[in-house]
Amino acid sequence: MTRHIPWIALLVCGWSAAAAQGAAQAITSPFAQGIRAYQNLDFDQAAALLRRDLARASSSTATLGERAQGLLYLGAADLFRGRRDSAVAVFRRLVQLDPRYRPDRLVFPPEVTSVFDNVRVETRAVVLVAPADTEISTGTGAFTFWVVASAFQTVEVTLRYQDGAPFRALYAGPMGDSLRVQWDGLDAAGQMTPVSRVLLRVASRAPTGELAGIVQLPLDLRIVHIDTLPWPKPPADSQFLPERAGSRPALRALLGGVLLAGTVTVLPSVVGSDHPNGSRLVVAGAVGFAGALGYVLHRPGRPLTANIAANQAVRARWQQSAAAVKAENVQRRDDVHLAVHAGEPTAIKPSAR
């Protein structure tokens, strides 16, 4: 009993240091009663309450972190009750539940954390951390996930058909705390395989080669074809300018010249003069000649070079946009995407021998 006194004193100090933050958490935790009993050093009561609440707890009533916390307090309570084997079993459950979990060393004394660390090193457990929904470009993109381990171990990361047959091996070898793995969406032959579901499986092996555990994550696959772009509409007729001169400008020049020349000629009569000046006929002739010249310059059917160049520019712009769309569509047809939806992971224990 006397050898427990220093640890109890340390436990009291640690408890009082964490009391402020622990109190608030304990109130909302589903394991609040057990934790409070632990903090009151009533370890038998704490173990009983925590064991009861952990048996009732499920993923819907307690989060992963809360369950891990409950297990840690239970293991610590068993340890202080002198039941080391039970504490080791509880810690093993904790490591298998969440290999990333670490006890707060300000709250728990070294006696607890050292036992937990020993259990963690001896227990081969992994979890898969993958995004729920991902869309990748097959071949060039990658579905990336993390394998997080409790301790150094050898793992085999594979993809399998639903019946367990191998689909694609992704990694085999040792790993430390974590391992980043990528899958390009293709099978072992480098081809797109029309399967709707594969199983992502991580098998942990002890240094002896013995299978320590399997974690499996179902992946629902869906091939996504990207829509091609519609062809650009050809330019409307209204966008083109006439490339040949019409008859209107020529007729206007001719008729305008005739009308104006006639007006000059009859102007003296219009104003009532009976002494017309013959020189007006020179003016009338010049105006008439200008009209005739205008008719020749604007003759019907004359090619309008400026309009022809403008129309060619319109056609060239359309052809450029059509070529760009064609290239983009070729790229889109080749670029097949794969939508990956990750389901709930399951752990498979090796059968006891």
Binding site: V264, P268, V271, N277, S279, V282, V283, A284, A286, A290
Partner: protein, 210 residues
């Protein structure tokens, strides 16, 4: 009655001015060679020089013109007598092709007997113009009638009217324009006992901002 008509025209011009947009002043001007012929109690001919200019503000336009030179009896040699003519018109453009204008028009020349004849007309003018050879060649026709006149002749003034027609060619890529026209004024005095006709061929060159 004629003064009332003049007032009505001025009111119309003022109304037109209020509708003019906030455009800047657009000036234009030119020089002309005018081959003039006077037919009346005497027959005089001569070539005189003239100048004209306009300033447009939106639909409103102010036009002035001046001609001075020597004219003499037809076929005779010699220096001839002075011909001086001036006009000032205030106009408005109700449409892009139409200009209505009103203003004084004064003319003075000396008859072969040495008697100076001075005319002052208040005229109402209407001028229509439109492009007929592409956008470079524009034709124009202008008619006018005297609303009132004073002349230092013994016969009383009866009526006067006139007109001008011709074409203006705008040179490409330059504000330069060439003008060729024919104009004629015809005045009747003493109930037709005396007729005075002045007509001319106008060849001009000008600068235009339009």
């Amino acid at each position: 009655m004629k003064l009332a008509s003049l007032g009505f025209v001025c009111a119309a011009l003022a109304a037109g001015a209020t509708r003019s947009g906030a455009q800047g002043l657009v000036p234009a001007g030119g020089l002309s060679i005018v081959s003039t012929r006077v037919r009346g109690t005497d027959q005089l001919t001569g070539t005189v020089l003239g100048g004209q200019g306009t300033v447009a503000l939106g639909r409103l336009e102010l036009a002035i013109g001046y001609v001075q030179g020597k004219i003499g009896p037809e076929g005779a040699s010699g220096a001839g007598q002075d011909l001086v003519e001036g006009v000032a018109l205030l106009g408005v453009r109700p449409a892009s092709w139409l200009r209505l204008a009103v203003g004084p028009h004064a003319r003075s020349y000396t008859l072969t007997g040495g008697t100076p004849l001075r005319w002052v007309f208040w005229e109402l003018r209407a001028r229509a113009s439109s492009a007929f050879v592409g956008s470079a060649g524009r034709g124009y026709v202008e008619l006018w009638r005297a609303l009132s006149a004073s002349v230092n002749a013994p016969e009383p003034f009866d009526h006067a009217q006139g007109g001008e027609a011709g074409m203006v060619v705008h040179l490409a890529r330059a504000p330069l324009e060439l003008r060729l026209g024919y104009r004629i004024d015809h005045a009747v005095l003493g109930g037709g006992s005396r007729l005075e006709t002045v007509d001319a061929v106008v060849i001009g060159v000008g600068l235009s901002g339009r």
